[in-house]
């Protein structure tokens, strides 16, 4: 069966041009913000690539789905960090709708920004004077009598702490991938293998997603081997020399 290695998928996006695995590396190293990447374009490229093949490469499809889902979650969280908690309160359907609504809003505003950029380019040959004319009279400004109470009110406003300052969005910021890289490296230094699900069990979904990306990074760098008895079964992480050929092996990220 001809393989369609996901990592070789060559992308040509606005923000990035090159193979998929380089894109992943840049995202993981936080050298590229997920919001800069057009995920839909990636999906379209992948589907086009599949369309060009004789057979469906199920393994590649599975790998791709896992990766794109993780990236989408990363991107969604990045777009709405402070609302992630609210979204979790909603039932999945409502949350999906809300997320879709906000993504559409962001997308429309990106379009608006593009329109402004084009407009600006079209107006490049329109020149006008900024500031006063060389020989214009100098304007004089006069102010009606003012109430000193407004000064006191302005200062009172500035002395107010912000309303119910919530640090929630700080907590919801993405933990850096590096944190999990270090943690997993340390674990593997102490133990020959560990169970990923047990290790991240107590974490939030966002942290789990980042932890998973860290795992893929370790696998790619050859620092860890991953094994899973069946789809959705616990993922076992081991030192690279411990790799066993089990039913489903996550290949390179």
């Amino acid at each position: 069966m001809p393989r369609t290695p996901v990592r070789d998928l060559v992308l040509d996006l606005d923000a990035f041009e090159g193979p998929f695995d380089l894109l992943l590396t840049l995202l993981l190293k936080e050298e590229l913000a997920p919001r800069e990447v057009d995920m839909a374009e990636i999906v379209v490229s992948f589907v086009e690539r599949l369309a060009a093949r004789e057979e469906v490469d199920l393994e590649a499809c599975g790998e791709f789905l896992v990766l794109i889902a993780a990236l989408l979650e990363l991107k969604a969280r990045g777009l709405f960090p402070e609302e992630a908690a609210e979204l979790q309160e909603l039932d999945p359907e409502e949350a999906a709708e809300e997320l879709a609504r906000r993504l559409a809003e962001y997308r429309r505003l990106k379009e608006a920004a593009r329109w402004l950029a084009e407009r600006l380019a079209g107006e490049r040959d329109r020149w006008f004077r900024l500031g006063p004319a060389p020989l214009a009279p100098r304007p004089e400004r006069r102010l009606a009598p003012q109430d000193p109470g407004r000064l006191a009110a302005a200062l009172r406003g500035l002395a107010q702490p912000p309303p119910n300052l919530s640090l929630e969005h700080m907590a919801l910021r993405f933990p850096p991938v590096s944190r999990f890289l270090e943690r997993f490296r340390a674990l593997l230094a102490r133990r020959r293998r560990f169970d990923f699900d047990a290790e991240v069990g107590g974490l939030t979904r966002v942290e789990q997603a980042v932890a998973f990306l860290a795992l893929l990074e370790l696998r790619k760098a050859g620092e860890a081997a991953l094994a899973q008895a069946a789809p959705f079964a616990p993922i076992r992480v081991s030192r690279p020399d411990e790799e066993r050929t089990l039913a489903w092996t996550a290949r390179s990220a």
């Binding site: 913000a33 919001r35 839909a40 999906v43 379209v44 589907v47 086009e48 599949l50 369309a51 060009a52 990045g78 777009l79 709405f80 960090p81 402070e82 609302e83 559409a104 809003e105 962001y106 997308r107 429309r108 505003l109 990106k110 379009e111 608006a112 920004a113 593009r114 329109w115 402004l116 950029a117 407009r119 600006l120 079209g122 107006e123 490049r124 040959d125 329109r126 020149w127 006008f128 004077r129 900024l130 500031g131 006063p132 004319a133 020989l135 214009a136 009279p137 406003g157 107010q160 702490p161 912000p162 309303p163």
Partner: protein, 200 residues
């Protein structure tokens, strides 16, 4: 230029037109019809008529000075024909090096304004501080009060300079957001095409 106003010199409209020329050549920003009428001490309708005359006279191709309707008023600018010469002598400090982040922030303020930094950050998904600072410094946005709550964040709106730089008569000239979002449809088509190619 080729429509000598002298023919109507007996008509005081000619004098009004000259007054408007004078006002427009010294003004530092576009002047609205009421502003022109008040300064010229004349009626708004007559001002409109005189502006019509001047618009023909100061038209692209006829004169190096062009009268345009922009940012809710009227203003002189250089003709497009002279753009190259202007580029050799002047700079464009307002729009030079406007970043993608600044453009997105500008779009948000233009469409949703007045809005605050936290609101902009929520929509863009990243802090908007440096983009807001750069737009403020360029004079494309300005403060527009604070959010209602005590200690509320400062809100921003776009300025007349924004409309002038982008050549807009008013914010109403911005295209509707719905008209811009054709992308989803295009995307769907490409997916369908890919599927059809696969099936064949």
């Amino acid at each position: 230029m080729d429509r000598p106003l002298r023919l109507i010199a007996a008509n005081p409209l000619d004098r009004l037109a000259r007054t408007l020329e004078a006002l427009l050549v010294v003004a530092s920003q576009p002047l609205s019809v009421p502003e022109l009428a008040r300064a010229a001490d004349d009626g708004e309708e007559r001002v409109e008529t005189a502006l019509g005359l001047l618009r023909e006279r100061y038209a692209e191709g006829r004169s190096g000075i062009v009268l345009e309707r922009v940012a809710g008023g009227w203003a002189f600018r250089a003709s497009r024909e002279a753009a190259e010469a202007c580029g050799r002598l002047f700079e464009r400090p307002v729009e030079r090096g406007l970043s993608q982040a600044a453009l997105e922030t500008l779009a948000i303020v233009a469409y949703l304004g007045p809005c605050s930094r936290p609101e902009i950050a929520r929509i863009r998904g990243v802090a908007a501080d440096s983009a807001v600072a750069s737009l403020l410094e360029r004079g494309l946005i300005a403060e527009a009060g604070r959010e209602e709550a005590p200690g509320g964040a400062i809100r921003y709106r776009t300025t007349p300079l924004f409309e002038r730089v982008f050549g807009l008569e008013s914010l109403a000239e911005l295209p509707r957001l719905d008209d811009l979002a054709e992308d989803a449809e295009g995307l769907r088509e490409r997916l369908l095409e890919a599927a059809a190619a696969r099936a064949s």
